[in-house]
Subunit: 236 residues, 2 copies
């Protein structure tokens, strides 16, 4: 019986291809079936990050995921993608799924994993997340010593966010996009705006890193607010 | 006037040298002054991860940090290390400081950064953290959708831990070591032990990944408990 292929969930890191790990790079270079998410408008960010490693004759499986719609259509897309990927695995070919950042950190890879993990060998190659890439942009500690770090999606409502921010030493607010004006107003009400840092497009050429006070109200989806509430990390 | 060197804080990732990023690897290979922390008993983990990239004639600056003692002696060690590093930067040589995982995620690099950031150019190269490497070991989502992820150091007391665990969708407890029996008992009291996963030495050959219930009471410092409390991530 022919051995089935291995499913690799591969983190591409935050954006700079140089922040791909050696293992991820080599896997992408040597695997001939490559899947990745694509928004219904625009290009695949994961594919763009890894493009220099993808071999010319690779079979590509773009998974076109509609943005800002309900869960149902996206799920049928993962059903279809999982079937396509399974066909390649059954034929004995490994499949690499490219994942922005890390495959298991707020990623859509879990939807494929759920569909394929019981039938195939799976290996996850962790990647650099936008979380630490944003801290790197400011060269500011994300979290230190015995601090509590809480990661909050920006779409959560203000009451939840305020409560969680109060309870943490360090906070990262992700998935900002259109929530930026509300989030800025919230941090101002909490008296924390002067401690908050903003980053968009971390690690890319057009990265911006500013104090939140100086950041524009229009923020892309790939942006983050970092807030360090603990003792001044610069006091040693 | 001669240009001063650049200080690079370089994440080595969680342990497997293959999980070093391409940029970090290249910087280590091409930089002749390399600093890293060393515990007062045993070898430097950061140096071990990166050893194959360090050139033979590199000038090495081991920073011997006493474990489990007060802050004062460690701080004088960073003072001394910062002075040594500054001498090399002043001479126009770049210096790479190797950091396990990521330089700004619970690392000691911030103590050097605090001492040198105002006088020298600094670049941080983010790395794969143990956080996502532990999720990769279990091939289980760390955090999904609009979940709240809270990262808790194991040395915190039970009351604080219980409160923060209650308020999160996903939890990672780090720095476990001798706190393991207490943490297991706590999660059992909270009725969460059957949802918790354990990982030690993530990404290394001797990695162990078990359900927390099956994990030994003796845990190394480099171990973690992951807990996913949100909706079953496998339900799509």
């Amino acid at each position: 019986m022919m051995a089935t292929g291995i499913l690799y969930g591969v983190g591409t890191g935050p954006g700079d291809p140089e922040l791909i790990t050696r293992r991820a790079w080599r896997l992408i270079e040597t695997t001939h079936v490559i899947a990745y998410p694509v928004p219904d408008t625009g290009d695949s960010f994961a594919r763009a990050i890894a493009s220099d490693a993808i071999v010319e004759n690779a079979i590509e499986i773009p998974m076109v995921v509609p943005m800002r719609t309900g869960r149902a259509p996206a799920q049928s897309i993962y059903d279809t993608a999982a079937r396509t990927i399974a066909t390649h695995l059954d034929a004995g070919n490994d499949v690499v799924v490219l994942c922005e950042g890390d495959p298991l950190f707020y990623g859509s890879f879990m939807y494929l994993l759920a569909r394929l993990k019981d039938s195939y060998d799976v290996e996850i190659v962790p990647g650099v997340t936008s979380l630490t890439a944003c801290a790197a942009a400011h060269a500011h500690p994300l979290v230190a010593r015995n601090d509590i770090l809480t990661i909050l999606p920006g779409p959560l409502d203000d009451i939840v966010l305020a409560e969680k921010i109060a309870a943490a030493d360090a906070v990262a607010i992700m998935k900002i996009g259109r929530h930026m004006p509300r989030l800025k107003a919230l941090l101002t009400r909490l008296g924390l705006e002067d401690r908050a840092l903003y980053v968009s497009h971390a690690s890319l050429g057009h990265q911006r890193h500013l104090r939140l006070e100086d950041a524009p109200d229009e923020a892309p989806y790939f942006s983050m607010i970092l807030l360090y509430k603990g003792d001044d990390p610069w006091i040693s």
